[in-house]
């Protein structure tokens, strides 16, 4: 085998004692897992020697359905990828189709997209921290605090799009409906309350000795491995790699906003937790600027049409910084009403591939924590 394509293998840990291992299938419905996901672990006592993630239980043919249905009909299906962040999924797909068809998004629609995407990021990070704490044994309190705040954001989504989670809001070349009366004031009110909520979460958790003992130095992901494995999002930044598509690609209008990209030092669970807290704070900053600056005007490109949409033959890849990492849609058009090829690059799946490397040598109880800190949604992993 040539050295250039040498495949990577995780480190091998030798078991102590007589070498007999206990093989456990964790899942597919372990209460701590985020969905139907199985981890086949080989244990030496409490120590994890091997770990094999098994997914596909929630596979529902998303890509093939996308190739068989029209461009517009795939939009509601993208809601179901990462069902916590339907609006960012909509945006990534709309971005890919807009590149393909050469559509321009009006100014106002760009601002609406940024506002909805940042609200999505906040509610995703808040609930992902809640779930992480739930898995750590802090049953209820942090998750309920997160959900209390998430509820306010979901109410805003319902007011705007008609649905709390399956928003189906963005269209090729803009957004579906104009903002309802008083919606921006509602956003401003919720955003004004968010720093207080983040402070509350920090007071509740950040200094907690149990949290620190269980997360610091646990599940370390080295920067080099993270880059090689294609890990993106808060996971990658917790390992200290400065890579945020909002800064790299400047997609949409992100070059107009002032915000910082938080980076971690150690790449452990605690850093991932902290990165999510800090990202929420930066999102609040972006939201404050966007709500202040949003202009009046149309929300739809006049060239776009709902029925009979047939982009010219070609290919396009649209990617955005979704709350979980780089979410990309790759489309090939052959000039027909449905794409010839429809491919999703899901951040959850690719972030999950390093699970074994992070878990080896740790106790089985910590594997649940490491798994929780990846922040995945099975709808996106299996598609």
């Amino acid at each position: 085998m040539s050295t250039a394509i040498k495949s990577y293998l995780p480190p091998v840990i030798e078991p102590d004692g007589d070498g007999s291992l206990l093989e456990v299938a964790m899942g597919p419905h372990h209460p701590s897992t985020h969905g139907v996901f199985r981890m086949d672990v080989a244990l030496d006592g409490e120590r994890v020697i091997r770990l094999k993630p098994v997914f596909g239980y929630l596979h529902r043919n998303h890509e093939k359905i996308g190739e068989k249905s029209s461009y517009l009909a795939s939009m509601p299906y993208t809601d179901r990828l990462d069902y916590f962040c339907s609006l960012t999924n909509n945006w990534a797909y709309a971005l890919a189709v807009e590149k393909l068809a050469g559509l321009e998004v009006p100014e106002r629609a760009q601002y609406i997209r940024v506002i909805t995407a940042e609200l999505t990021r906040i509610q995703n990070h808040a609930s992902s921290i809640g779930f992480l704490m739930q898995e750590m044994g802090a049953s209820g309190t942090p998750l309920m605090y997160a959900f209390r705040e998430r509820e306010k954001i979901l109410d805003l989504f319902e007011e705007l799009t008609g649905s709390r989670m399956m928003c189906n809001y963005m269209r090729f070349g803009g957004c579906r409906v104009e903002l309802p009366k008083g919606w921006l004031e509602g956003v401003a009110k919720v955003v004004a309350g968010l720093p207080g909520f983040i402070d509350e979460v920090e007071a509740l958790l950040s200094g907690n000795e149990i949290l620190m003992a269980r997360t610091q130095g646990m599940g370390v992901l080295p920067a080099e491995l993270a880059v090689n494995a294609g890990v993106t999002g808060p996971m990658l930044r917790a390992s200290g790699v400065n890579y945020d598509l909002r800064k790299v690609d400047h997609y949409g209008i992100y070059d107009r906003f002032k915000f910082r990209v938080p980076l971690g030092d150690h790449g452990d669970i605690f850093d991932r937790y902290m990165i999510r807290i800090l990202e929420m704070r930066e999102s609040v900053r972006i939201l404050e600027q966007a709500v202040k600056d949003i202009p009046a005007g149309p929300i739809m490109d006049p060239k776009s049409k709902i029925r009979g949409f047939r982009p010219k033959p070609g290919e396009a890849y649209g990617r955005i910084e979704a709350p979980k990492g780089e979410l990309g849609f790759y489309l090939i058009s052959d000039g027909s009403p449905n794409p010839y090829r429809y491919r999703v690059r899901p951040p959850s799946l690719i972030n999950l591939t390093v699970l074994e490397d992070m878990s080896l040598g740790h106790n089985v109880a910590d594997v649940i924590l490491i798994f929780g800190s990846v922040d995945i949604v099975l709808g996106e992993v299996d598609r």
Binding site: L72, A73, S74, T141, G162, M166, N168, L205, E209, I306
Partner: protein, 218 residues
């Protein structure tokens, strides 16, 4: 000091617990079946067919007022393909009096429907809209969730009640269309009358009254 962080966290939960006795804002739980939150206007879940007429109209009256002309666009565009339409063989007058075909059969399987409202977006006749009713549990999971035309037909008054802002826009648009159609019909009638009269007289004034009748509608 060890345990300081934990005490700080406990103080935070204590603040929330005690605060819930004094501030209504901290009491976020709603005791659902007894208590309900105010509905949000844009909420959508499953589609229904709009008919023009009274809320408690008979089945014949519902069908007479039905806006759907069985063009089957929604059936074609529906992502999970949960709409089934059979066109009628005869025609009935629509809201402007033009004879149109109507759906002899219009079924929506709401166990398949994913509430995406693409049918609403593509409908050129404002005939299908999203309902807000969500308590739809049934003991018959196949037949009970397959809604037929009679079950789907709901009055325009119902639409106005659940989505007031949107319905007002739609009503304005339809009224405008109706005025236009009436003006056109009047112009056509006048033109026909003028033509009949003009058979004897000079052919010149035929165009003039038609143009005059059209003007206010533009």
């Amino acid at each position: 000091m060890l345990g300081e962080g934990m005490m700080k966290g406990l103080a935070e939960t204590g603040k929330n617990f005690l605060g819930s006795f004094v501030s209504a804002e901290r009491m976020t739980t709603v005791q659902y079946p007894e208590e309900r939150i105010a509905p949000i206007e844009n909420t959508r879940d499953f589609p229904f067919l709009v008919y023009d007429g009274a809320d408690d109209a008979s089945d014949e009256a519902k069908l007479a007022g039905l806006r759907c002309v069985a063009c089957q666009i929604c059936e074609k565009e529906c992502p999970p393909k949960c709409i089934y339409i059979v066109k009628s063989t005869d025609k009935k007058p629509d809201f402007v009096g033009k004879p149109q075909i109507y759906p002899a059969r219009f079924d929506i399987d709401i166990s398949v429907c994913m509430s995406c409202q693409i049918c609403v977006e593509v409908c050129p006749f404002e005939a299908i809209k999203m309902d807000t009713e969500f308590e739809l549990s049934t003991t018959d999971r196949f037949g009970g969730l397959l809604l037929d035309r009679e079950q789907l037909s709901k009055s325009n008054g119902h639409y106005r009640a659940i989505h007031p802002t949107e319905a007002a826009e739609v009503d304005a648009r339809l009224a405008e269309e109706k005025v236009k159609a009436e003006a056109k019909a009047r112009a056509a009638a006048e033109a026909a009358a003028a033509k009949a009269g003009a058979a004897a007289a000079a052919p010149k004034p035929v165009a003039a009254p038609a143009a005059a009748a059209k003007e206010p509608s533009v």
